[in-house]
Amino acid sequence: MAEGMATGKSKADFVADVMNKTIYTLVTNCTKSDGVRNYFDVGIVTYGGGGTRAGLAGGKAISSIVDLASNPTRVEDRTRHEDDGAGGVFERRVKFPVWFDPTASGGTPMCAGLTTAAEAIGEWCDAHPNSYPPTIIHVTDGESTNGDPSNVGNVLRQLSTSDGECLLFNIHVSGDSSEPTTFPSSEGGLPNAYARTLYLMSSLMPDHIRRLAGEKGYAVGDGSRGFMFNADPRHIADFFDIGTRPRLTADR
């Protein structure tokens, strides 16, 4: 994760940025003038050279969105450029919370990381048997250093609630200059074995997810899987937006 991407950022910087923005978006989507509504539980598992860690500092692997909102490591003052709706942009000062700082310490123990996620999600499904099933969005550089992750990927996809099986989506952040791929329906165009493994581990996109992706302008078909390779930050942000909306919200 230490190596650079085509954008000049390190992969670790990029992934930390994506995760902070995603949690920020999830929390603000659940926030109304009277506070944060407990619409979601969110699980976080990180893995790297230092091993596997469940949850944020001292926390559980899966916590409520309210707990997550209450526990960023710090809140920074940033300036953001925003569309003014009339062809221009304007600057706005914003308070931006940070949960993740980039770390890249060698090693990608993907099997251990996904196993930790499977344990936490299995417990959650047992405790919430009638809830919308968890969606797992796995962001990685794709080069597992502790074996083939396909089997644990199968296990994750088979965990279920009465409303269906879990969805496993993968985002492969690669350092090479191969063409980006979004929601492919075959492994044909993927450039290496790591990407093909992650593609095959990815769930088929269900109807409501496909419809949301279509509304955002992505070409998706019956066989499209929840997988992106080398996607740019905008596409990854879209992926999180699409993948973290449960069916009821998508239908509304």
Partner: protein, 240 residues
């Protein structure tokens, strides 16, 4: 001549805030309903500004929406909000708008519709016309709503600087009743068109609440804030 008759509204859950709003002009000839979206910072006040703007005769120009969004934002001290509330305020509040008013020059009405609130014309108990939707599954798509965030309104103003109302000629109808409904009831109406007469017959809050509870319990009415506004139509005085 069209005029307000009565309106009813019910929240998603007992005791929860209701983000639907409705309004009528002082003479009752212009009416509007707005459904404040759940994924919003505070959509009720935004919906209120929209329905009041319509019944006060405003043109829904890009500029009017932007100025109204500023009025909305002035109700909050952005710098004093914590990060999550500030982020939610910046993301925006969203609401539908359905407004109906008489057209001055003919036996027609002007209908302004943004989002998934629906107008239904019922004549002699029969559902004869709906807009903007005609099939229940159309309620499954994400609708374009009016937002306090200017960027979110761009698709609305791609072609024109003002939202143009549609004209509907009421001449073909005998004694039409106009129903302005928010999305849950619109979906119900298109799923059960033969029951349209039940809505026109609602006379009291108690009757409406009982209908909502029964239909929700039976799984026929989606659990959402639910609003019904009824207007009727009299022959113009120059048509004796």
């Amino acid at each position: 001549m069209i005029s307000f008759v009565r309106a009813f509204t019910a929240p998603k859950h007992d005791g929860s805030p209701n983000e639907d709003r409705y309004a009528k002009s002082s003479d009752g000839s212009s009416c509007a309903v707005s459904d404040g979206a759940s994924v919003s910072f505070d959509s009720g006040p935004w919906a209120e500004l929209l329905v009041q703007g319509f019944v006060n005769g405003e043109s829904f120009t890009r500029e009017w929406i932007a100025n109204t969004a500023n009025t909305y934002a002035a109700g909050y001290d952005r710098d004093a909000l914590d990060w999550m509330q500030q982020g939610a305020l910046d993301r925006g509040s969203f609401a539908s708008l359905l407004g109906v008013r008489p057209c001055q020059t003919s036996n027609s009405i002007e209908v302004l519709a943004i989002g998934d609130s629906m107008l239904a014309i019922v004549d002699a108990g029969e559902l004869l016309h709906t807009q903007p939707y005609t099939r229940p599954e159309e309620f499954d798509a994400s609708p374009q709503l009016l937002s306090t965030s200017a960027a979110q309104n761009e698709p609305i103003f791609q072609d024109f600087e003002v939202i143009r109302p549609d004209l509907i000629d009421l001449s073909p109808y005998g004694s039409p009743c106009l129903l302005l409904v928010t999305d849950a009831l619109g979906h119900w109406l298109l799923s059960h068109p033969k029951r349209a007469h039940e809505l026109t017959a609602k006379q009291s809050d108690e009757e409406f609440q009982e209908f909502v509870v029964t239909e929700r319990h039976a799984g026929r009415l989606r659990r959402d804030d639910t609003t019904l506004l009824i207007m009727d139509c009299h022959a113009p005085s120059n048509r004796h």
